[in-house]
Amino acid sequence: MAQIKTAKTNPVSEFFSKLFRNQIFIPIAALLLLAIFNLIADPSFFKITLGYSSDGNPVLSGYIMTILDYGSELAILAIGMTLVTAASGGQDISVGAAIAISGSVVLRVLCGTDSRPETLQAPIIVAFLVSCLVAMAFGAFNGTLVAYFKIQPMVATLILFTAGRSIAAWINNNELPIVSDKVFSYFGGFLPGIPIPTSFFIAVACMIITALVFKFTSLGLYIQSVGINQNSSRLNGLNPEFIKFITYVILGFFVAVAGFIKVSRLSTINYSVVAKDIEMDAILAVALGGNALSGGKFNIGASVLGAYVIQFLTTTLYKLEVSSEALSAYKAIVVIILVVMSAPIVREKLAALLKKIKASAAAKSAN
């Protein structure tokens, strides 16, 4: 009897211990915890209603849609931040400032010389592409400092972190350009006829592009290899400096995409506060995804999930009307718990604990 029982429980416990050790466990667990908490506190959290926007387009609304909508910029940034972290073992803290720059570029191109144009002065796609180029150039600047001048990533990106918002202001001559174009507002809102926020589609598109890049190139292997052992990578024919450099350029692209959504949301930009502190959330998303902040192996899916978990948390806190001053304190507490949980040591302990419980349960039932 006992033997049959253990044979039965074995695959289950194996599955769990495998799950505990899997990187994606922590963001999933965090997501489940938050979901269960909200389910108990107020099941209406998960209510999704179909309504119509002021333009008569169908629109799904509800907290879940809000999370998918507002978490998207963070998810997009998390992709790039994961790569930078993996290759260079450090983080780019200038992404918020870089969003201010790329967003300003979008508006500058769309507005031309007039800060409040009646019609767009350039096609939206041109504005987007120009902002991509600019953001990637700034990414290249960071990448050069990190890869070739071997400056600590946080220190290297501190430069743009400090100067970025001033540059953004300079791009639009300190004016606040406002675009009044219906199509432009689609990217931060809804496409006509489609009830799901466009930003979510953009995030999914970014993930698909990334997945394809990793499928059709060996960049993933190269980045991990460089992040884990730079010496070995060099002796295996890689150019570690270039690979680090290129991750910063890739992050630049994602910065441009996130910045584009941000300016589309309000059709304007306030360069001093746009995407404020987003770099910290992006780094947190990477950490929540169980990626080592010291570089090496990475899992982009886990980071993206981590980004949505952060937005889930933010939305939950807004919903609970947590007193405004205390908001960041609550966030910090949850973050501490999640990050401690995601530490490998804790996870090993958890797995061991689970095994013990299973074993004693099996022993009891055998008796």
Binding site: S44, G51, Y52, S53, S54, V59, S61, G62, Y63, T66, Y70, R116, L145, F149, K150, I151, V155, A156, I159, T162, A163, R165, S166, I167, A169, W170, N174, E175, L176, I178, G189, F190, K262, R265, L266, T268, N270, Y271, S272, V273, V274, A275, K276, T314, T315, Y318, K319, E321, S323, S324, E325, L327
Partner: protein, 325 residues
């Protein structure tokens, strides 16, 4: 440590400072004969639209044509500002116009100014120093701005008041003044505050706060945002959820600062109210300088500026042109 690394870091830092520096270095504009020499220390004009308008107003007023030899210096840091002040005193300016970054730490430099015969006029911000150290102080009364706005809201005579209150950065003068009036009146009149949260002057955060209220299904009919940016964020959330706003619509939208684009929203009747925070202080300063030059005595040290509140029902294009920043 590796020398190369240090070198490159130094180079990078220098680059950083030179990038930041090009907007901040004091700009001298020559020495005029009988011009009145003024040194103007302001916060960084990039800080906000308000500050940009304020700086523009100063630059347009204190020109050679108007009889001034003006030098400008900008910083958001108190100690840098004090450094600029010392420099202006050495340059023997007649007037030192100061919008201090921080309230404390100005005593000694202002005493130096007094000893050197430099007259100090504060604008926009007050400081913790003895009144005798400056000639005048031109300020906005944030509490009054709040009261004007709230009494306007009261005059709307809504059957019930369900208010989303979006606050600025907690503890700032504007937040305290604008929040205080609403909180007091709401308590006195029994208005319902649906939520009261800080969006830290940030449009995106305001959008999320309003989105959260919409998602919760709670009803509301007033958005009281403590600046225009946050009001814009709130409106973006309303638009997404197909909630009408503006004159004669479901939700009353209130903002502050009178940005030109915000006043245009009023003109289009998308918003209902915008309270002014007057950045145009130059005329007040000129008045004071003229009086001092003639040897007249000032009636009072603290000059509170006139500030308006605009109602969408009555605003005109002229208002937008004159008061929009």
């Amino acid at each position: 440590m590796n020398f190369k690394k240090i070198l490159s870091f130094v180079a990078a830092t220098t680059l950083c400072f030179s990038l930041a520096g090009c907007t901040k270095a004091p700009a001298n504009s020559g020495n005029g004969g009988d011009l009145i020499k003024v040194g103007i220390i302001n916060n960084d004009p990039n800080e906000s639209g308000y500050r940009t308008a304020n700086d523009k107003d100063m630059k347009e007023t204190f020109t050679k044509e108007n009889g001034y030899d003006a030098s400008f210096a900008y910083s958001l840091k108190n100690d840098e500002q004090i450094g600029y002040a010392q420099k202006f005193i050495q340059d023997e300016v007649d007037y030192l116009l100061l919008s201090a970054a921080d309230t404390a730490g100005w005593d000694s430099v202002l005493k130096d100014a007094q000893a050197a015969g430099v007259k100090v006029i504060l604008f926009d911000r007050t400081i913790d120093a003895d009144e005798s150290l400056y000639e005048a102080s031109i300020v906005s009364d944030m509490a009054k701005e709040g009261e004007t706005a709230v009494s306007w809201l009261e005059s709307q005579n809504l059957p019930e008041y369900n208010i989303i209150h979006i606050q600025g950065v907690m503890g700032s003068a504007a937040q305290k003044g604008r929040s205080g009036a609403l909180t007091d009146t709401a308590k006195a009149k029994g208005w319902n505050i649906v939520t009261q949260q800080t969006a830290e002057w940030n449009a995106e955060k305001a959008q999320q706060i309003v989105q959260s209220v919409i998602d919760s299904g709670k009803s509301f009919n007033v958005i009281y945002a403590e600046n225009d940016d946050m009001a814009k964020g709130a409106v973006a959330a309303l638009d997404k959820a197909n909630i009408s706003h503006g004159v004669g619509k479901d939700v009353i939208v209130m903002g502050f600062d009178c940005n030109k684009w915000a006043l245009e929203e009023l003109l289009k009747k998308n918003w209902n109210y915008d309270g002014q925070c007057n950045p145009f202080q130059a005329d007040y300063i000129v008045d004071i300088i003229n009086k001092l030059e003639k040897g007249e005595k000032l009636e009072q040290k603290v000059v509170v500026m006139d500030e308006k509140g605009f109602d969408a029902a009555t605003i005109t294009q002229d208002d937008v042109n004159n008061y929009g920043i």
